[in-house]
């Protein structure tokens, strides 16, 4: 499967966040989205999964235009932003069971890629920030979607856990999946493609009808 983005751009209000984003990602490859703070990494991620509408351009999957196709995106895309998508009142296992139920998939507790077996009975509000992120990352292996869109996935993870994440990322790519990762530093992974965002010079004047 091949995901292609063609001259994507996004405006917030009257200011341009980014423009002319082109990429083409094959199965099994990883794409890094890099750039300084405020250059629109998160915005690009949210745009790719369809939470935001791009101003121009299109996204297509195997030459099929999916810019406005919610169903195909829901089938193939997984998004993990800064938020962990967890409810602090739940125990880890309740949270995992909930994800399993909604996505109709199962987490492989035997191999346990994110090593959560030891904290299964712990309430999520008792977990440390790093443990919560780890739980959040188990969702990646539960949902079994082809394209991962991860926004700073390794935030608040220690080196051991980053290693775990890299393992499961490698696994994912070997099974024909791909990943978009917005990040500041290469976490020891060689990406096959890189999108570099820079802070746009403002185009306010020509776009703002009020000036």
């Amino acid at each position: 499967m091949k995901l292609t983005g063609h001259s994507l751009s996004f405006k917030r209000g009257e200011s341009l966040i980014f423009s002319e984003i082109n990429f083409s990602i094959n199965s099994g490859s990883i794409c890094f989205v890099k750039g300084a703070n405020g250059s629109g990494k998160s915005t690009l991620m949210r745009l790719l999964v369809g939470f935001l509408k791009s101003e121009t351009g299109s996204i297509s999957l195997d030459n099929q235009d999916i810019t406005n196709d919610r169903e195909i995106r829901a089938e193939n895309f997984l998004y993990l932003g800064h938020e962990n998508v967890i409810k602090p009142q739940l125990t880890v296992i309740e949270q995992i069971f909930f994800w399993q139920g909604v996505s109709q998939n199962t987490y492989d507790f035997k191999s346990d890629p994110m090593k959560v077996n030891s904290i299964l009975r712990k309430k999520l509000y008792q977990c440390s920030e790093g443990q919560r992120r780890r739980v959040a990352l188990t969702r990646l292996s539960i949902e079994k979607k082809r394209f991962w869109f991860l926004d700073e996935p390794t935030a608040s993870l220690d080196d051991n856990n980053i290693q775990l994440f890299k393992e499961s990322l490698k696994n994912h790519c070997n099974n024909g999946g791909s990943a978009f990762i917005a990040t500041h530093d290469n976490i020891g992974i060689k990406p096959s493609f890189e999108i570099l965002l820079s802070i746009q010079k403002s185009l306010t004047e020509q776009n703002d009808p009020f000036i």
Binding site: R46, V49, G50, F51, L52, K53, R70, R73, A74, E75, F77, L78, Y79, G81, H82, E83, N84, V85, I86, K87, Q89, F98, G101, V102, S103, Q104, R139
Partner: protein, 220 residues
């Protein structure tokens, strides 16, 4: 089990785990007791206004738990995740409204025959009023989703939400109160029943789409 059963039970667990179930039901009882106590001290005939008190108390208490409907999911990213799940946003809104009804309106309705005693409504009329509420309250839960969506992401906008939403309860309240009043006087107006049912069903049918439109606005 289908995924939406999971979501429903998940939602139910949160609404009952948290204090909102108890709180809005307590608020309901408190409104009714304070108003009926203060009215009774002046020797005023309560039964004329008691039905109105009952309905308005129900509407106000129902509003209490509306704000958290989408707010928590919006903050912790769950709404993002649900939007990329196989379940459509409209279905999620319907599930939220059903949860709201089950956890907020239903407990109050269960208490209705009980609170009818201080309000001076007979048990027979109370059962009829319960039937009217059964028709009217689902619409209240569904309309509430509009307010929850409108004030999404705005901290401390409880008041704002009530300002928008309370007037939109008016069609339901107008019919609900009037039919209940007629029922306490042993007049059974079937056409009014049917119109209330129609308004209720129309609200249930259109609000998920309106609400999903509003939520999508928050994603721009």
């Amino acid at each position: 089990m289908k995924p939406y059963i999971y979501i429903l039970s998940h939602e139910m667990k949160f609404s009952t785990n948290g204090k909102s179930l108890l709180l809005s039901t307590c608020f309901f009882i408190i409104i009714i007791l304070t108003t009926s106590i203060s009215v009774s001290q002046f020797g005023v005939e309560t039964s004329a206004t008691s039905v109105a008190i009952l309905w308005v108390a129900l509407a106000l208490s129902a509003l209490l738990s509306v704000k958290v409907m989408f707010q928590i999911d919006f903050d912790d990213g769950t709404l993002d995740w649900l939007m990329l799940s196989p379940i459509s946003l409209e279905t999620i809104i319907v599930l939220k409204a059903i949860t709201h009804w089950l956890t907020t309106c239903l407990p109050m309705m269960v208490l209705t025959p009980l609170v009818c005693i201080p309000l001076g409504i007979t048990f027979d009329s109370a059962l009829w009023i319960l039937l009217v509420m059964l028709i009217g309250t689902p619409a209240i839960s569904f309309i509430s989703t509009i307010g929850a969506a409108l004030t999404l992401g705005e901290r401390g906008s409880h008041l704002l939400l009530s300002i928008f939403i309370l007037p939109t309860f008016l069609p339901i309240l107008l019919f609900g109160i009037k039919i209940s009043m007629l029922v306490t006087n042993s007049i059974y107006d079937s056409s009014a029943f049917l119109i209330l049912l129609a308004i209720s069903l129309v609200c249930i049918a259109i609000t998920p789409f309106i609400t999903s439109m509003i939520i999508k606005v928050h994603y721009t």
